[in-house]
Point group: C2
Chain length 183, copies 2
């Protein structure tokens, strides 16, 4: 089993309690109460409402300079003060995946400032990106992003996701669910 | 099941007969007689010696101009005259995967001419690239590339793989097996 595989298990009980769930674009996920992130291959509880799987992977768009800038300030998951989280599953359109690498890179950063917007919110917002699109089973989403932050940074997180949703890159998002959680 | 998942099943019988198998770098695969490419989810024969899985995916390094140049001349798999094939599974080092996107792109094309070398061998050599690294199970390789060509293009194919193996990109390859086949 790949150590980069992660499961997000939703159900009646779990490590993180759902405080809100909004279908931003496209179909919602079934309503449920809590989410538990589990390592790949862990047993899935029998009462799970749904499970989403994803793998962490190499960065697809970062330049070496951007990667160094992120590494210098980012913090990891699991900080005691980070008692708020968000799980945001996203699917992108076939048109997005048909674009060439230079076209996708230009949309992500030069036109949408995805990387620099994220950098401005470090280290307050910790983030782990999981890829789903190339898993062997049919997947409802292409990406799952898990964010953790302290309650006082919730407004900044709202600003970040609002800025991304109004960006040219987001014209290629055809399904997005925004799930907020409290530990 | 994703329609982009493919299995390469090796065993005593199969669609393509193995004519040679060479461990170019790192450990060889167990010796066997034939390989059959199967669509994702197809039943795996009980007498399989080994099975390798991979998914086709979006291109990771091509610019829009390069993608257009490839599309203009490439041909698909399954041509009646293409009675020779090669399956070349490759693994790249952790150092490769730790590089940023711009560093990997520079190694692939500006320093190793991987894309332009491949373009020079179109349409003679048809190619399908499969990604393994982000599959949920532990994988022995990162990529499986399947090539098909007519017997008269075998020498050109040998030149292509020799040029790639002497390129800076290949300094990051730590396992490679070269399997040649005849239909």
């Amino acid at each position: 089993m790949s150590s980069r595989l992660h499961h997000f298990v939703a159900g009646p009980t779990g490590d993180w309690t759902i405080t809100s769930q909004v279908a931003v674009v496209g179909a919602d996920l079934p309503p449920t109460s809590a989410i538990t992130p589990l390592p790949g291959g862990a047993p899935i509880p029998l009462d799970a409402t749904w499970t989403l799987d994803g793998v962490t992977s190499n960065a697809r768009y970062l330049t070496a300079d951007e990667a160094a800038a992120l590494r210098a300030v980012q913090e990891g998951l699991g900080r005691p003060a980070a008692t708020r989280a968000a799980l945001i599953p996203i699917r992108k359109t076939a048109a997005w995946w048909a674009l060439a690498q230079d076209e996708r890179r230009a949309l992500v950063e030069e036109r949408s400032h995805h990387i620099s917007l994220g950098l401005r919110h470090l280290p307050a917002i910790a983030r782990r990106l999981h890829h789903c699109r190339d898993l062997p089973g049919a997947q409802p989403f292409d990406f799952l992003t898990w964010f953790e932050y302290a309650p006082e940074h919730e407004a900044a997180f709202d600003e970040l996701v609002a800025a991304l949703r109004s960006s040219p890159e987001w014209a290629y998002v055809d399904r997005e669910v925004d799930i907020r959680l409290r530990r």
